[in-house]
Symmetry: C5
Subunit: 328 residues, 5 copies
Amino acid sequence: MYVKRNYSLWMTVRWSKKSLINGLIYSALIVFLYEISPIPFSLPWQPISVIGVAVAFFLGFKNNSSYDRAWEARKIWGAIVNDSRTFATAILSLPGSEVVFSWKKEMIFRHLAWLVALKHALRKGKSWEHNLPVEKMVFTPAFKEEIKDGLNPEITKYLSPEEWEQIQTYSNFPTQLLKRQSLELEKIHESGALDSYKQVWLHQLISRFYDTQGMSERIKNFPFPRQYASTGLWITYIFCALIPLGLLDIFEQSPAMHYWLTVPFSGIIIWIFFLVDRIGDFSENPFEAGYNDVPISSITRVIEIDLLEMLDEKDIPEPYPVENGFLM
Amino acid sequence: MYVKRNYSLWMTVRWSKKSLINGLIYSALIVFLYEISPIPFSLPWQPISVIGVAVAFFLGFKNNSSYDRAWEARKIWGAIVNDSRTFATAILSLPGSEVVFSWKKEMIFRHLAWLVALKHALRKGKSWEHNLPVEKMVFTPAFKEEIKDGLNPEITKYLSPEEWEQIQTYSNFPTQLLKRQSLELEKIHESGALDSYKQVWLHQLISRFYDTQGMSERIKNFPFPRQYASTGLWITYIFCALIPLGLLDIFEQSPAMHYWLTVPFSGIIIWIFFLVDRIGDFSENPFEAGYNDVPISSITRVIEIDLLEMLDEKDIPEPYPVENGFLM
Amino acid sequence: MYVKRNYSLWMTVRWSKKSLINGLIYSALIVFLYEISPIPFSLPWQPISVIGVAVAFFLGFKNNSSYDRAWEARKIWGAIVNDSRTFATAILSLPGSEVVFSWKKEMIFRHLAWLVALKHALRKGKSWEHNLPVEKMVFTPAFKEEIKDGLNPEITKYLSPEEWEQIQTYSNFPTQLLKRQSLELEKIHESGALDSYKQVWLHQLISRFYDTQGMSERIKNFPFPRQYASTGLWITYIFCALIPLGLLDIFEQSPAMHYWLTVPFSGIIIWIFFLVDRIGDFSENPFEAGYNDVPISSITRVIEIDLLEMLDEKDIPEPYPVENGFLM
Amino acid sequence: MYVKRNYSLWMTVRWSKKSLINGLIYSALIVFLYEISPIPFSLPWQPISVIGVAVAFFLGFKNNSSYDRAWEARKIWGAIVNDSRTFATAILSLPGSEVVFSWKKEMIFRHLAWLVALKHALRKGKSWEHNLPVEKMVFTPAFKEEIKDGLNPEITKYLSPEEWEQIQTYSNFPTQLLKRQSLELEKIHESGALDSYKQVWLHQLISRFYDTQGMSERIKNFPFPRQYASTGLWITYIFCALIPLGLLDIFEQSPAMHYWLTVPFSGIIIWIFFLVDRIGDFSENPFEAGYNDVPISSITRVIEIDLLEMLDEKDIPEPYPVENGFLM
Amino acid sequence: MYVKRNYSLWMTVRWSKKSLINGLIYSALIVFLYEISPIPFSLPWQPISVIGVAVAFFLGFKNNSSYDRAWEARKIWGAIVNDSRTFATAILSLPGSEVVFSWKKEMIFRHLAWLVALKHALRKGKSWEHNLPVEKMVFTPAFKEEIKDGLNPEITKYLSPEEWEQIQTYSNFPTQLLKRQSLELEKIHESGALDSYKQVWLHQLISRFYDTQGMSERIKNFPFPRQYASTGLWITYIFCALIPLGLLDIFEQSPAMHYWLTVPFSGIIIWIFFLVDRIGDFSENPFEAGYNDVPISSITRVIEIDLLEMLDEKDIPEPYPVENGFLM
């Protein structure tokens, strides 16, 4: 997530330079062909403009949906923050005073293990994502390290080696960690230190973690439907392919100008439409370990700080760093 | 669900070739009639373009609604994942230690039976769906097999023959399976191993399964209202019928060109509008056993794996295969 | 609810023939007046087209809202299905084994009485609805019978004559039926067969029925605000009144044509806009006993079948019939 | 709330006659100045039409938000209906049989006192509302009386004089009435007639009333943000100011006509845009004691009837009257 | 939040004068260059108008999202009002009569401490906010004082010096205050004056405060995605840069006029588009201590008054003042 006020125009252009350059080259080519060809193949602008409106609608719909996906992802991780605080508070205050502190700490640590396991699980690449190689994340070196190191160094801070080893025999680590939490609660219940009523409330909190985990996985595993994304892309291509042909027709009336004005003007229109498409495209998958991601690393860190402070731990980690304007 | 980054332009064209070809033929016909007829029946473009905007609005609304239906369907099945994990965890940890493991396993197996029964029930054809014959699902052979084999081989893995036989006497299998789950809980409650409080929480989980089942059935049984779909279709037809007439009027000013330019240009515009309509049309029914479905087979498999691993079963099935880019 | 794939073009035209014919007559009249009048009162098209865009926006908003109303109505009745199944399951499994089966059956029957009472209450006409006389429902004879017969034959299947008589002394039958359910639960609680905890859960289910009943009544009793509906209608009228005047101006340049082309072209545009308005108008009130209603009769039947099967009744009614493509 | 099918065109025009007349006068003035002035200050229409599209977007957004506010207000009051029925049913059936009926009646009466107190509180004027003087509500005489009489005659039907006097020492009557309900429940709990579990459920219902009360106050106290409303208004003004200038340019080509055609045509376009703006403006505040309000008086009456019938009271009030097509 | 009916046109212009002036200067410059340059670099208007439609779409999307953010923020703080009332009522009525009043008062005071701590935490500047220096808040002197004084004077009214000191050792004050509330409840529970069931209900209320706190932090910490905001800004810039070039082309046909008409007309169009962009921009961050904020200071005051009145305190603060039309 970018946290400065605005991307500069220069960054924006550089980021989408491919479509700008291709647009210019393509337009120049059309003008050149038009010049050398005996056939005046220009097209009237009016019908093109109707296509333009339809494309604008489609891109609007796509951007809206992408934004909704990102915003929902952020909401889900917001809920994880809230429920984590509630859960830790509940673990600290609801069981009877005969429950030892070390058990409470273990529960909260296992919760943090669930959290980091989920964070890393959400960043495995998908066939529809951009899958930028991690080496290219040059703007965010600390984040690059985190991705490279993987789950192991983070989870072993919170889980005993035996338990970590056992969890690794399963397919979905977070799911099985939550099951373990539930069995631990039953143990305390059987010992008499947690009545049935409080146990169910704690189980309902675990149910909420299953919910937020599953909702994150849903956004991760169900892309913006590819048929919509592809249609949007192809009609943008067709519309842009028609633009210089339409401009030729308009500029034709003042032949002196059209050699050099059709090309930049056409290039700019093409670039605007591809830019709008690309913005949606790059915001679609909020967990793809890219610069526009929902910042789940820093959210995780916020939860770690709050929960470790609740345990009055001494060794509180720093807030996640902002690197070159990016908070990941 | 297609899981590659984009449908190729070629696939897109092939999939909607009918409207492209028809559009071209129709336009050619109009041009031909215009040539041979003494009446200059072309139409001005400006009013057509207002119709175009209205049609673009309508299609935007239709696409939006279709997308919402698909996304809601995915959310419902995401909730089924979450609740299934919660339910299995609850069955394993909430009843007292005097409850035998075989009962717990039976409960979780009956839950999986409910799941596969629901999956198959959602795939029975509806009069407003596309009802592609299953033999034509050539891109996804494994899925084709699953549909052909039907519910029986899947449900008998999880249900005793007697129970399965009894369930078949009812109209709605999943509904009656959940009632059975509830009666089983009461049995354990009467034996004293599950207090009233935990029983109610488990009953609330069953209530959630009634909810998600009913919500799936709602999307299945209540189509995007046919009056909206039909209106969208007919006004698209009328708009497209007018397009070549309007282009004729524009191209008229340069008669040398209009024989061959009206036809492809008109064909492309017609194709774009029908493509946008068709995308919505094919995304409307997320459970019609077609390529753009919400992938409930693979979601079912994910649940099976998680729950069988919770039971520490040995025989864990493989994740559902991606076939030619499709995950069903 | 229409359940075939699409209304045919012919049905669509016939259903909205009034606006097509009026549009044609009006346009012909304008052309005629223009011919005989010495004043050339045509109007430029460009400003009309801006009005057209504004009207398209407004109709889009109206259609969207109508659709949302229908979809919400369907969701509410989906929730009634889910909660009914949950409630019946709860009645069958939660009370202690000392509770006699006849009481359980009575509770579930009274619930079905609530359901049919609600169904009929939702179909009383409102001053803003279309109020098509029931005799005109020629496509759905079975449904026509149901409406004519009214509540009595349906509710007496599920309620004793004494109770039915007593309920009729109140204004709102469903409300008082639910109160009765609640008092019955207290009776069982006082007898010791239902602990406080389960009683509250059952009361919460009754609370959900109050919710869904009240939500249905809200949609029934609060129309799409008439100020929006009227504004939409009047600006459509004004826009359509201007259309032939604008076309005259365009066709003027080729006088040979405008006698016969202005009229059909104008008629088609007028028809399209009125059709789009009319679709929204006829989908606005999802419980007006019309062809586009949410099919609450068949949903009611689904619940009856499921609940009677749960009671292992012998006399299970048939699913609701589809008549001429309509499921009511 | 208007409850007839449509406002007549005449009512609509009369209601917005100011903008129609002003639009005509302004257009006439421009035409007159254009005639007498040596400077041909007309403007090209094309750029004006782009502004028109932007204005149409903005008004669409404003109307949408206004509608959402009204609809949410209606939902909240729908929830008040549902929760009131649930609460009354709970008061009648959950406490043990040793609780006297007079206490139950007192609780339900105090609930009705909360309801009417909330109704009147929502109708105090706000600085951004239209604040039509109550004397001008000529179409709804019964409603006018209700507003004039104020809270006192309604609340004293349900509250003892002592309690009413005490409540008046606080700022927010409904809030303190609910606190009182909660203390009453504790009293019954301490007497042993309401176990802890049922008490909490009843307290949760009181929490719901705090929710719906607070949600009503939120809509009442937080207007559609004035920066959006004002921007919408000012850009509509600018757009409308430009309209006759643009029309002059178009009509210029046929000078014989433009004296008399620019004026009415321009007036109609101006009127349409102001009408669309005004509709949103007048639907923005659903509790401003105006004709387009959410009908909270009649909803209150519905609740009174249902609850008094549950108590088997003899003196049931009549449903709220529809006056001249308005239900308030 | 502005609470008068409309910002005056003058205020609106003054607030956005920068874009109006820049637009005029830029347009004048273009006209000047066009005059002195031998190259006729004007551009056709039609393609510019398609860009205009795309920009209008994008700004519509941006304004919509900004509004949704503000409205959600208001909803969250509405929920804080409701839950605070419920919580205070619960503290006063649910614990047994052996609990001393001073403990109840302490709990409610600590809740108010949480509230003011949250209010101040939400007003720390963010890198993407406008961060208007507090000295410039000349219209709202009382609010300026509040911001300058900071948290300390407000929180010490509700928290003992020792507790306040201890809370300051943590990163997130509100989080740790809620944990403290939960531990206090356990203390009362262990003393026997609050049964397990009521304790869990009170813990659920604390969970709701964690939710609303976290939701406020989510809106505060997750801006409207900067990639969308920047794209919107840059395409508005490009569109506006093209406007005078397009107008030149149109006015060219009547050269006598274009010196002085292109400039103001172009300036007005540029200003409208930047105004619409700016409105969204300034409504995006509802907690940035600016004039368009959600009025959390006055909401806090409302809660303080209600809760102190519930405690029958003598020293009730005044409602928050409206200063120059602003309620903060």
